[in-house]
């Protein structure tokens, strides 16, 4: 495996600078806070650029669609956030984005509800006096509400009732939602682009229902769209049909190489921060020169991250919190070991005995179904592999468990 070589960063890389003082560990934890990953200064572009691929695929017509596939924590939301920022700057489209996995019951909801939700969410950001309440009275009346905001709340809190109401008047409500998008395009004088994030969280049966059984509605979306999906769907027999609906515009986001995830560690300040924690701690304790200790630790965290940015941040924060809890000013290997063990604990509960048998097999011997389940659980990780179709490996969080059986 290639090792990270610490060197002076390229000039295009910037970070907030070293962080000194007694709260270095806390700053390290803060730098790992989830939800800040999409900040432009933390963004490490993929090669080839994912946002460029998507933008090119969207160009031809309003019926252009892109399917963005990837495991949880691989960086899809970060790419979509960057795409949104770029488009908002250059303004080729009006971006109507929604994180559908937060607050919406995707077990019940289909394309109709998602379209209504996204359109209403965008409209609700318009000042109340300028919202097209009278033009879309039928839509609001159908749900027994008086405003778009109340409808959004109802979709979040009464999903079963909303789903039943949608099932009664699907065609009419689809029409109304398309009308809302047209209205928004009119006032913004730009063609709309739907960005639907969060669909990678769908279960296997929900994915099939949405993309295969109800996939025809994708053809009827009123504008361009980028839609996420679970990586597992690419192993399903109906996947070719789905890919055809997207005219082959399928972007797979895979786990990052060691070097690329090391760039993220650097940009977010994890590497420089860790260096200072180690250097300050050792200088204080032993009057010693900071050794290459931090490189070993950072490499260990990067190896354990499985190339998944979210896993790297969670492990680093957990290790720093272990150090704080143990009243150490210094991050030590045992803190990292404990953090890795803590993180693997959830996986131990999630895996069935049969999953362990599958994990011990080479990937070529695994059934598609087993691979799909293990990818869903992040027990398996699919890596960037330009030379091959894909490379699937066991999440390093499980290495110790598989080796020792405990």
């Amino acid at each position: 495996m290639c090792r990270l070589i610490f060197r002076k960063p390229p000039s295009c890389l910037q970070y907030a600078g070293p962080m000194n003082g007694p709260s270095d560990l806390q700053k390290l934890i803060a730098a790992c806070e989830l939800g800040t990953a999409a900040t432009p200064s933390f963004y490490v572009p993929r090669q080839p650029s994912v946002t460029s691929q998507i933008e090119i695929a969207l160009q031809p017509s309003q019926s252009s669609r892109v399917l963005l596939m990837g495991q949880n924590g691989v960086g899809k939301s970060t790419e979509l956030h960057t795409l949104t920022t770029q488009i908002q700057l250059s303004r080729p489209y009006l971006v109507i984005a929604a994180s559908l996995d937060v607050g919406l019951d995707l077990r019940l909801f289909g394309w109709h509800e998602m379209l209504i939700y996204s359109a209403c969410q965008f409209v609700s950001t318009i000042p109340p006096g300028r919202q097209p309440v009278s033009q879309f009275n039928k839509l609001l009346h159908k749900f027994g509400v008086s405003s778009f905001q109340v409808l959004l709340d109802k979709m979040r809190h009464e999903p079963a009732a909303v789903h039943a109401q949608v099932s009664e008047s699907r065609a009419m409500l689809w029409d109304q939602a398309c009308g809302l998008i047209r209205f928004l395009e009119g006032i913004h004088r730009n063609p709309a682009l739907l960005i639907w994030d969060g669909l990678e969280k769908l279960s296997r049966s929900e994915t099939q229902k949405l993309f295969e059984e109800e996939g025809r509605y994708l053809d009827e979306l009123p504008c361009r769209a980028v839609i996420t999906a679970p990586m597992r769907m690419s192993f399903e027999p109906y996947f070719t049909e789905v890919a055809d609906r997207f005219l082959g515009n399928v972007v797979r986001l895979r786990a990052m190489s060691h070097e690329r995830i090391a760039q993220i560690a650097f940009l977010r300040g994890l590497t420089p921060n860790l260096l200072h924690i180690i250097a300050d701690g050792l200088a204080h304790a032993n009057n010693a020169q900071p050794p290459r200790h931090y490189e070993t630790l950072m490499n260990r965290l990067i190896d354990a991250s499985a190339g998944l940015p979210r896993q790297l941040l969670q492990l680093t924060a957990a290790a720093a919190k272990q150090a704080l809890n143990m009243r150490e000013g210094l991050l030590l290997p045992e803190h990292v070991t404990l953090a890795i063990r803590r993180a693997s604990e959830t996986l131990r509960y999630q895996l069935e005995p049969g999953d362990f048998l599958e994990l011990r097999k080479p990937d070529s011997k695994r059934s598609n179904e087993a691979r799909a389940r293990l990818l869903d659980l992040r027990a398996l990780v699919e890596y960037e592999e330009p030379e091959a179709r894909f490379r699937v490996e066991v999440n390093p969080l499980l290495t110790e468990m598989l080796a020792t059986g405990r």
Binding site: R310, Q314, K321, P333, R341, Y349, Q350, L351, D376, E400
Partner: protein
């Protein structure tokens, strides 16, 4: 596959006060042990942090109570004592609902002002929790949660585990040298409320207590 390590009740209390995540899931072997853990937390959490109160709430109250806690400037541990006590359908609905509400839960728990510590401890039992985990209908919530397998008898850190055992042992020896006291004697004095060396700062007491807990039952006799 058995869990990798078993934690003691005090680890959960410590996790509630100084945990890695604001949401913990403590998995007990059965409902009786789960009840004992709830009782333990009511006593132990304030012992770790006297500003932190403990509230026992039911599963139905969780989301609303956390939202309210986010508006209150006081440290609190919310113990959900029945998080896995339900029939299969309700269990799925409950954890799915929490999964959908995960952002709201985190926002409430991490709300300002800084220094206000809010924690949720989901008390689970092994069988139903395994079902929740394997069927993966709360995967996102679990990825934000520290899962701890808990027992009431103090288990030892595995002395064969070189990477951890040696490090903790060396920390214990360092403190034993600094204060002329064995770790066993320190623990004895701490729990029997006998006087500790005058010069021992709070930080060292806490650190030694942590180290002793991790080494419990596996300290070599000197």
């Amino acid at each position: 596959m058995k869990p990798s390590q078993t934690y003691w009740f005090d680890d959960v209390a410590q996790g509630a006060v100084r945990g890695e995540t604001p949401i913990l899931c403590a998995v007990c072997s059965d409902p009786f042990k789960a009840g004992e853990l709830c009782n333990w937390l009511e006593t132990a959490v304030p012992a770790f942090d006297d500003e932190m109160t403990v509230e026992r709430i039911s599963s139905d109250q969780l989301v609303q109570r956390v939202e309210r806690a986010g508006t209150e400037a006081r440290s609190v541990t919310l113990v959900v004592e029945d998080s896995t006590q339900a029939d299969d359908k309700t269990l799925e609905e409950r954890w799915h609902h929490w999964n959908l509400s995960r952002d709201a839960l985190r926002a409430g728990l991490l709300a300002p002002p800084e220094g206000t510590k809010r924690t949720v401890v989901l008390i689970a039992t092994e069988g139903p929790f395994r079902q929740v985990a394997r069927r993966n209908y709360a995967g996102d919530l679990l990825s934000l949660t520290t899962v701890m397998t808990v027992d009431d008898t103090p288990p030892a850190i595995d002395p064969d585990d070189k990477s951890l055992y040696e490090a903790y042992l060396s920390a214990a020896r360092e403190l034993e040298t600094k204060y002329p006291l064995s770790t066993q004697e320190f623990v004895h004095r701490l729990y029997d409320r006998e006087p500790l060396p005058d010069a021992m700062p709070k930080e060292d007491i806490a650190r030694w207590r942590d180290v002793a807990q991790r080494l419990r039952g596996s300290l070599p006799h000197v």
